[in-house]
Symmetry: C2
Subunit: 327 residues, 2 copies
C-alpha cells in the first residue's frame, strides 16, 4: 500500500467547503467571520505516550484530537467554525486513516466545525489541530481566565477524575472490573467538549478555563490571571460512581490533579446563580458548586487554593499538576 500525500488528503479528508469561503486544496483556507465577531483560536499537539496510549482505537483518537481543541473554544464561550489538521505519520496506513478520519469528522459534523486545511508528512506520529471559532468582539464576549472576583462561586461541569483513574488502571497501579474499566476508559478516550455550555455561560460566568492538566493546576491559572485565591470544598467534587468506589486518597488524587477531564471550571457571582442553573439546563450538563473565590492573601504574589472537607477542616494534598516537561 502506498498512497501519496495528495491521494491521502483527497481520500479521507477532502470534503466540499461548506461555511468556509475556500477549503482544502489551495495555499490558504479562507474563512469569513460574522459581523461584530472576532476570531478565537487555539491549537493542541498530541504525541503518542504522552497524550494518548498506543492502545487507543483510531476512531477515538480522531475524536479526542478535535475534542481537546473544541474544549478550548468552549472555555472561551466561542462558537466553533472550522479547524485545520497537521498529521505526521510513520507510514501512510489506510486502515488507520480511515478509522481516524471517521472519529474526527463525526465530532466535527456534530459540532458544525469544518475541516478547512492542513498538512501531512511522514514522521513520528504527531497530531496537531488548530481550531477556529468566533465570539462577539464587544458586549458579552469571550470568557477569560482573568475575570474571577472575590465572592464569586466556583463551579465545574460533569464529573472529574475518571480519565486519571483509567490511566492508573492502564499503568497497573490499580485494578478495575471490566465494566468499570470501559466506563472510565471512555472518559479518557472520548471526552465531550462543553461547547454548548461555554456558549450558555457568555455574560454569566466571570471567568472560565477547561480542565486539561488537573483541577488544581488549571484553577491556579485562573487565580494567577485574576489576582485572587480560592477555597475548594473537596467533598463536593463531582465524581462518577466508579471513582467513588475507590479509596478516598485515590478519589482526591484523580479529582484534584487528574488531568484530561475537559470539563469547564468557571466562576460566577452569587447573583447569577439562577442564570448558571439555566445554562446547565440549556446545555444539558450537570454543574456543581465546588467552592468560592476569596481575596488574595495579603502580600503574596502567587495564588493559593485552600482545600477543606465537609466539616471545614483543612485537607492536605500535595500532588502537583501535570506538566509535560516535569513528569
Amino acid at each position: 500500500m502506498s498512497l501519496g500525500e495528495f491521494d491521502l488528503i483527497a481520500k479521507y479528508f477532502d470534503r466540499p467547503a461548506q461555511r468556509a469561503a475556500l477549503g482544502i486544496g489551495d495555499d490558504c483556507a479562507l474563512l469569513a467571520l460574522s459581523p461584530g465577531m472576532q476570531l478565537a483560536t487555539s491549537c493542541d499537539m498530541l504525541v503518542e505516550g504522552r497524550h494518548f496510549l498506543s492502545t487507543v482505537a483510531p476512531e477515538r483518537l480522531g475524536h479526542k484530537a478535535l475534542a481537546v481543541n473544541l474544549s478550548d473554544l468552549a472555555a472561551c464561550g466561542a462558537e466553533p467554525l472550522a479547524f485545520t489538521l497537521a498529521l505526521a505519520l510513520p507510514s501512510a496506513e489506510e486502515a488507520f486513516l480511515e478509522r481516524f478520519s471517521r472519529g474526527l469528522l463525526a465530532l466535527a459534523d456534530a459540532q458544525g466545525c469544518e475541516l478547512i486545511g492542513g498538512d501531512t508528512t511522514r514522521g513520528p506520529l504527531n497530531i496537531c489541530i488548530s481550531v477556529f471559532g468566533q465570539v462577539p468582539a464587544a458586549g458579552a464576549g469571550a470568557l477569560l481566565r482573568s475575570g474571577a472576583q472575590a465572592g464569586d462561586d466556583l463551579y465545574i461541569s460533569g464529573t472529574v477524575g475518571d480519565a486519571r483513574l483509567a490511566l492508573e488502571a492502564f499503568r497497573g497501579t490499580l485494578r478495575l472490573g471490566g465494566g468499570d474499566f470501559e466506563s472510565v476508559r471512555a472518559a479518557m478516550e472520548m471526552p465531550q467538549p462543553r461547547v454548548a455550555l461555554g456558549l450558555a455561560l457568555r455574560g454569566v460566568a466571570s471567568s472560565a478555563i477547561d480542565l486539561s492538566d488537573g483541577l488544581l493546576g488549571d484553577l491556579s491559572h485562573v487565580l494567577r490571571r485574576s489576582g485572587v485565591d480560592a477555597v475548594v470544598e473537596v467533598d463536593t467534587l463531582p465524581r462518577s460512581a466508579v471513582l467513588q468506589a475507590q479509596p478516598l486518597a485515590v478519589q482526591r488524587l484523580c479529582a484534584l490533579s487528574g488531568g484530561d477531564d475537559y470539563e469547564l471550571l468557571f466562576t460566577a457571582s452569587p447573583d447569577c446563580a439562577s442564570q448558571v442553573s439555566a445554562a446547565s439546563r440549556i446545555a444539558g450538563v450537570a454543574l456543581t458548586r465546588i467552592g468560592r473565590i476569596v481575596p488574595r492573601a495579603g502580600g503574596r504574589q502567587s495564588p493559593h487554593t485552600a482545600l477543606i472537607d465537609a466539616d471545614g477542616h483543612a485537607v492536605i494534598h500535595v500532588a502537583a499538576s501535570f506538566d509535560h516537561f516535569r513528569t
Copy 2:
C-alpha cells in the same frame, strides 16, 4: 536544567499582545479582522530529516518554520497578522529554545506577524505553525490556484533550485566550494517569504502558488485547479550563478523539481504586464516570465506541462515532484 512547560513559554515566547485582542496565556487567542476582510490561514508541520537537517542552526530553523507559512499567505496575497506555534521537543533545552525563538521572532517582527498562542510538549522534535492573515472578502481578494486562463503569461519570483542544490551537496551527490555552499545553504535554510509581492499582485495575478514541492509539481496544482495546460521555456528559468555553474542536467533537476524554493509562481494576462513590472518594483523582487498558459489539450483530464528549450524544441524531464509519502 529543568524548565517546566509554563516557564518555557514565559521565558522565550510570551510577549505582550500587540494587534491581538488577547495573546498567549488563555484558552484561546482572540484576533479581530479589519472590516471587509476575511481570514486566510495555513499550517505547516516540520519534521527533522524531512523538512530540515539536524545540522541546521536553531535560529535558521526558527526562521524557516515561520517563513514557509508566511509563504502560503504570500501566495494568497494575504496580509500577515499572527501565528501560533506548537512544538514537540525531546527535552527542554534552553540553548536550543533561546536560539530558535530568536530566529522565529526576528522574522515575525520583520513581517508584523504576532505570536498569539501555541502548545509545547515533550516528544520527537516537531514544529507546527499555523499562520493567520487577512484578505478582502470581495473585489481584488485572495489569489487562488484556480484562476489561470489560456493566454496568460507564467512568472516566477527570484531564482529557483538553490535549495535543492544545497540538499544534494549535503547528501554528497555533488561538491561545492565553501562560498558557493554557504550561499545555497542559506537559500535552503533561510527562505524569504514573498509577502510584499503577494500583496502587490492582488488584482494583477490571475492565479498564484508558492513553490514548496518543486516547480513542475506546484505548477500542476495550478493547472489542475484551473483546467488548463502550460508551456515552460526551461532556459528562461532564473537560476543563481552558483547553480548556473553546474551541469545542465543538474540545473534542470534543481530548477524544475527542486523543492523548498518558496518563490511565487503566478499567472497574469499579457494586458497586465506593466502592472506585473510595477509589482516587482514595489516588492523589490525580480520577476521572470518563464512560459505561458495554454488550453487543456482535448479530452485529457490531467494537466500537462510542455517543456521547451530556447529553440522551441521539446525537453525531456522525468524527475517527479517531492511527495512526503513517496520519497
